[in-house]
């Protein structure tokens, strides 16, 4: 008989509900009395609101509420309250196309739509600023009145003596690199149902990656007690960072619900998702790298301007994280970093898989190749001379634990055929590679980093695992269940994971920063250890044996040396029904702060666990059309201990596809008035099945990590080095260096033209 599938990792525990259509996403929920809410959004990128007339909308049959700024709390909001700059609904000014101006609740979709059409808003246009250079010009139109300038936040980091080091370098390269706004494109759009009940409790069903902090955010902006807000998640159709910070539709739906006394649902259209669901922060990076002639990188100097969009969100955190990864990679002894955020009249940025690291790594890893070129050295060799090492403390303070950077790099290089192909491939073909470092365990940015989990066994030995690890598709539930199953000795199918309700789960910072496996996984492990102890004691009592001799595996219990295996259910039934002692466990993992830690100075000490990786690619370029064909991508990433091979590969493969999108395809394009013109999949292309090349993911194991069973997070790293690897391969293929992503055909044709001109 033919074998069709060889299993590499256990199937996900949610695969069957998903493949059969049983899984319920927030958009699938039904509820009695549910109303449709819709938001009237600004058609202007920058304008004063002169008047709003809602009378006709209110008079329409089937409309239950129409609200404007006057009807909502006046509080300003941002992810960091000290940066608060956005009202729930705009008061007197709109700052990007899509800004929330008014909202309606109606009996059905068509009525809500009609009501929006009936709201009359008079605007007075203001100058629109879409470009950071223009925004930073002295005397530029202020996007937020009352602020000193559009430059809204900055940070400086200094390690060693960069000026002295630059003078000592034999080679210095310098360049400017540019990235643009990208959309997360979760297949399930941002949506919610809010229900403000008669006891003044507010329940919100939504797709949130960080429900506990969103609960706090909703309470903060509405000015109500946090204890009155409950967030309930369903199966999630993607996250990628877009669902960390509260979307304004949550408080808007909440107010509509309070006014109508009924649950109100708001669902983005795909166009709203593209234009308002926030974006990857675009960076402009001025970078200098200096090295000695034997290839030791002595210094890096980076000035980074981030396009904040119209309002604050995760900008400071993103830039800070960028600086930490910038400082850690290659342990460069002299580092200068200046980061700055600038307001523009565009959709706001937010977290996006990689959190500022793909942007910075595009610059740094492209420039390594430029440096190698200048030195006449093989770029792989230059990287070899600067690799990070296990257990080193980098000059920037980063404490590297397990580190498989060399292994990843050598594996990726070998698999792509570096020796045979680099600089000598077929004409118009090239290979390139890039390294990266990322967190493999979240961060201590909140001034703490901890997680809890709860386990209870039923009287038949099945397990309920309560964890705060959200599964937005990455497989956290399965990973948590596997950790619990392994430690407890029960079958995977006997574990049910609950993570969906803030009233049920322990307080938690959420699933971001490749954090869940490391943090929540450790908490689950601790809870399982706790439960196992009770289980073993109960079994010892029942079987009249020494607890030390009790073995539990695959839901069977036996005494060491005995052949008589008992079902776990027998033991649990015995202890519950004969002694009234049910079995449960609670676990907490605290990632203790290093000595002398303070948030402002901690810098790279914020990262509890680093993860390294390399990607190597082969491309073919058509010089006539500028078309880049990625032929093959090899990714070798560090996983510590791989918990589920299939899922870890899946994380890397999905990331690589997003990396290819970032490198070659994706960019939100604005017209002069600030409208996004490609607000649909037809125009904003994400890779389809025919666009992805052959991709091979390797999970490289390493030791020395404090993760559960030695595991690290792998959710984000896979898209960090893809773009520079492709840029480096393009250079190898056709000898032109591109400094802007996405690397479009037009750019390639232009660069080739310039190259030809300079050669004649």
């Amino acid at each position: 008989m033919k074998t069709c599938i060889v299993r590499k990792g256990l199937p996900r525990i949610d695969a069957i509900p998903k493949v059969s259509g049983e899984a319920q996403y927030t958009v699938d929920l039904k509820m009695p009395g549910l109303l449709v809410g819709k938001i009237l959004r600004s058609p202007h990128a920058h304008a004063r609101i002169k008047s709003i007339d809602t009378s006709a909308a209110k008079a329409l049959d089937g409309v239950l509420a129409v609200i404007t700024a006057e009807d909502v709390p006046e509080n300003l909001f941002a992810f960091y309250q000290w940066q608060a700059d956005k009202h729930i609904l705009c008061t007197d000014r709109v700052r990007y196309v899509g800004d929330e101006v008014a909202a309606v609740a109606a009996m059905d979709d068509d009525t809500a739509e009609a009501a929006l059409d009936l709201i009359k808003v008079e605007y007075e246009a203001l100058p629109v600023i879409l470009d950071i250079d223009e925004a930073m010009k002295p005397g530029a139109q202020l996007i937020h009145e009352g602020k000193e300038s559009n430059s809204t936040w900055s940070v400086d980091r200094l390690f060693g003596d960069p000026d002295k080091a630059l003078a000592e370098c034999d080679y210095v390269v310098e360049g400017t690199y540019v990235t643009h706004q990208l959309a997360h494109c979760c297949l399930e759009v941002s949506n919610c149902i809010a229900k403000w009940d008669k006891r003044d409790k507010l329940t919100i069903w939504t797709n949130a990656q960080a429900p506990h902090t969103q609960r706090q955010e909703v309470a903060r902006v509405l000015g109500i007690p946090r204890r009155n807000v409950r967030i309930i998640n369903s199966t999630m159709g993607g996250g990628f960072g877009s669902k960390l910070v509260m979307d304004m539709k949550l408080p808007i739906a909440s107010v509509l619900s309070r006014l109508t006394g009924r649950p109100v649902r708001i669902v983005n259209t795909r166009s709203e998702e593209f234009t308002t669901a926030k974006t990857r922060y675009p960076y402009t990076l001025h970078l200098k790298t200096g090295a000695t002639k034997d290839g030791k990188i002595l210094v890096r100097d980076l000035t980074l301007i981030g396009d904040n969009g119209a309002y604050h969100d995760k900008g400071p955190a993103t830039i800070n994280f960028s600086s930490m990864m910038f400082g850690t990679l290659y342990n460069v002894p002299n580092i200068r970093f200046h980061g700055e955020l600038v307001y523009t009249n565009k959709a706001m940025g937010t977290a996006f898989r990689g959190f500022g690291n793909p942007q910075v790594t595009f610059a740094t890893e492209s420039q390594i190749d430029e440096l190698a070129e200048k030195m006449g050295m093989d770029p792989l060799e230059l990287r070899r001379r600067n690799v990070n090492h296990p257990d080193e403390t980098a000059a920037c303070g980063a404490e590297v634990c397990g580190c498989a950077m060399s292994e990843c790099m050598e594996l990726a290089a070998k698999e792509i055929g570096w020796e045979e192909k680099r600089g000598k491939g077929a004409p118009l073909r090239g290979v390139g590679l890039a390294n990266m470092v990322h967190t493999g365990g979240g961060g201590r940015f909140y001034g703490f980093n901890s997680a809890e989990a709860i386990i209870k066994l039923s009287d038949e030995g099945t397990v309920t695992l309560i964890t705060s690890a959200l599964d937005m598709g990455q497989g956290a539930h399965t990973a948590m269940a596997q950790i619990a199953a392994e430690e407890l000795g029960v079958r995977l199918e006997d574990i049910n994971v609950l993570s969906h309700d803030t009233e049920l789960t322990p307080y938690d910072l959420g699933s971001w920063g490749s954090r869940a496996t490391f943090m929540n996984g450790n908490a689950v492990l601790a809870a399982a250890e706790d439960a196992r102890q009770s289980l073993v004691e109960a079994a010892a009592e029942m079987l009249e044996a020494d607890p030390a001799d009790i073995l539990v595996e695959e839901s069977k219990v036996w005494v060491k040396g005995s052949h008589e295996k008992h079902d776990l259910s027998e033991v649990v039934d015995h202890t519950v029904n004969e002694h009234g002692e049910p079995i449960s466990g609670i676990g907490r993992f605290v990632d203790h702060l290093p000595e002398g830690y303070t948030i402002p100075t901690a810098f790279a000490k914020n990262i509890p666990c680093f993860s390294f990786g390399t990607q190597a690619v082969e491309v073919e370029v058509d010089p006539e059309t500028g078309q880049v064909n990625v032929l093959r991508v090899v990714a070798a990433h560090e996983t510590g201990t791989t918990i589920n091979q299939t899922m870890a590969e899946g994380q890397l493969e999905g990331s690589m596809a997003q990396g290819i999108g970032f490198a070659l395809m994706e960019r939100l394009v604005h017209d002069d008035e600030g409208r996004i013109v490609n607000d649909r999949f037809l125009d904003y292309k994400i890779p389809n099945i025919g666009d992805v090349p052959e991709m091979k993911a390797y999970c490289v194991e390493s030791v020395g990590t404090r993760g559960p069973f030695g595991a690290k997070g792998i959710g984000e790293p896979g898209l960090v080095p893809t773009a520079p690897a492709i840029a480096n391969a393009i250079y190898d293929a056709i000898g032109v260096r591109l400094h802007e992503v996405p690397m479009t055909r037009e750019q390639i044709i232009k660069a080739l033209k310039e190259k030809r001109a300079s050669e004649t």
Binding site: L187, T235, E653, G654, V692
Partner: protein, 160 residues
Amino acid sequence: MKRELHIRVNGDEYHLLVETHRTLLEVIRDEIGLTGTKNGCGQGECGACTVLLDGEPVNSCLVLAHEAEGHDVLTIEGLGSGDTLHPVQRAFVETGAIQCGYCTPGMVLTAKALLDHNPTPTRAEILEGLKGNLCRCTGYVKIVEAVEAASCLLEGGEIE
């Protein structure tokens, strides 16, 4: 304006009163209550809403419900029988072709239709057949594997 609509979904007959501008997707999800069929764009550009209309894959967000009058619709809930998964579903589960799962119902139905027509597709034919179904999570590697595995299972092969 509402009109009577008679359609067969997963073998069940439905007699509904439906406005003439409603899409098949809306009727399946909102009137009939089968939410396995997903809305990813509502514009015919992602494939999440794929159902089989008389065995052929269509983007149900682009089909008016009344165009399906008298026809047979298969949604993800109708695939497989009882608690047994269809081989295409089994292959998706076992190869790890599912992450968030939002694209999965559409992917699976498109793959089923492909294999109905062409039981042993080449890799190129799989890519061609599924290029209208977007997935943001998987990078498609395991989706291609799943379709190949499904073909193998349908030809009588086994897992492991």
